[in-house]
Amino acid sequence: MPITYKMTLPKQVRTMKTRSPITSAYLRGFVQGLPFTLVIFPFGLLFGVAATEAGLDILPVMGFSIFVIAGASQFTALHLMVEQAPVILILLTSLAVNLRMAMYSASLAPHLGKATRWQQALIAYFMVDQTYAMAINEYEARPKMTMSEKLAFYAGTSTVIPPFWYGSTLLGTQIGQTIPPEFALDFAIPITFLAMIAPALRTLAHVAAAAVSIIVALVFAFLPAGLGLLVAAGCAMVTGAQVELWQTRRKAAK
């Protein structure tokens, strides 16, 4: 009976039905990841260019993009290295930039916490802003997805995004030296960071945290490289959390 029913369906619907849910979840992840390559590509290219301009050889540059795969922290580390900051400060500040990953991890845990250790390790390695954002949107939009479908979707996004990151970094190392100084690539880091932060300025708490970060960083700019930034980041995190708390309480009191 189900077979005859299937035969009467239009061709398009038939192919959808015959494709396994796991395959279609993988393909959905793959297709949804494609537009993000437009963001990944220039960002990775800039990292390759900036790191090469700073004097790094191709191996360490690729080492950053392959072992760390976290653009903002890679740029942070690079910037602090140009400033000759001590190694420990480079690590502390760059890891602070990546603290948000722990939040991503916590938010994915209810969906993927039952995966095997090996799968979890792969999920962790490929967890970047884009794969996380796509996965959590998908899981929340389709609550009936099975674990295997969730994993397949994640694998789909991870097939697209990270290879573009490696490839664009590599291309950046090759074209780095050919770009003349008039093109002001020194300013690539500020522009990319501001472009990443600006869309996040959606609440008063975020704006207050950003403002405190800027002011404290400028006031403590005289401190040894990296130290002022660490102080600024600490003050700004407390500011953001306190403003949020104050707003929540005020709303509750109304």
Partner: protein, 110 residues
């Protein structure tokens, strides 16, 4: 890279890679499926917006390329990048607009 030995360089890369991996793995694998306390989440929410503006601010006000002198082209470019990002919520448009303003400032206007 001047100032860092090959060993120091690879220590930075490896430690950053391993540290970042464990931040990503943390709640997924190590802590289990217990939800993170709201208190901790509240601080974590603000880390990017707490670190990156402070990193960028001195680079905008005292650019290395001009040896620390105020540069109108760079300040305008930064302002356009932020305005476009807040308005469109789109990182790519914001980057392109920022570079557009930077080059307009450097090559055409100033």
């Amino acid at each position: 890279m001047t100032g860092y030995s090959d060993i120091a360089l690879w220590v930075i890369i490896t430690a950053l890679g391993v540290g970042t991996f464990f931040l990503r793995y943390s709640f997924l694998g190590l802590v289990g499926r217990k939800p993170l306390p709201e208190r901790a989440l509240r601080y974590l929410r603000y880390t990017p917006v707490a670190v990156l503006p402070g990193l960028v601010a001195p680079l905008v006000i005292w650019p290395e390329a001009t040896e620390g002198a105020l540069d109108p082209a760079r300040i305008l470019a930064a302002a356009v990048t932020v305005a476009l990002g807040v308005w469109t919520k789109n990182t790519l448009i914001s980057i392109l607009g920022g570079f557009g303003m930077l080059y307009a400032g450097i090559f055409l206007l100033l």
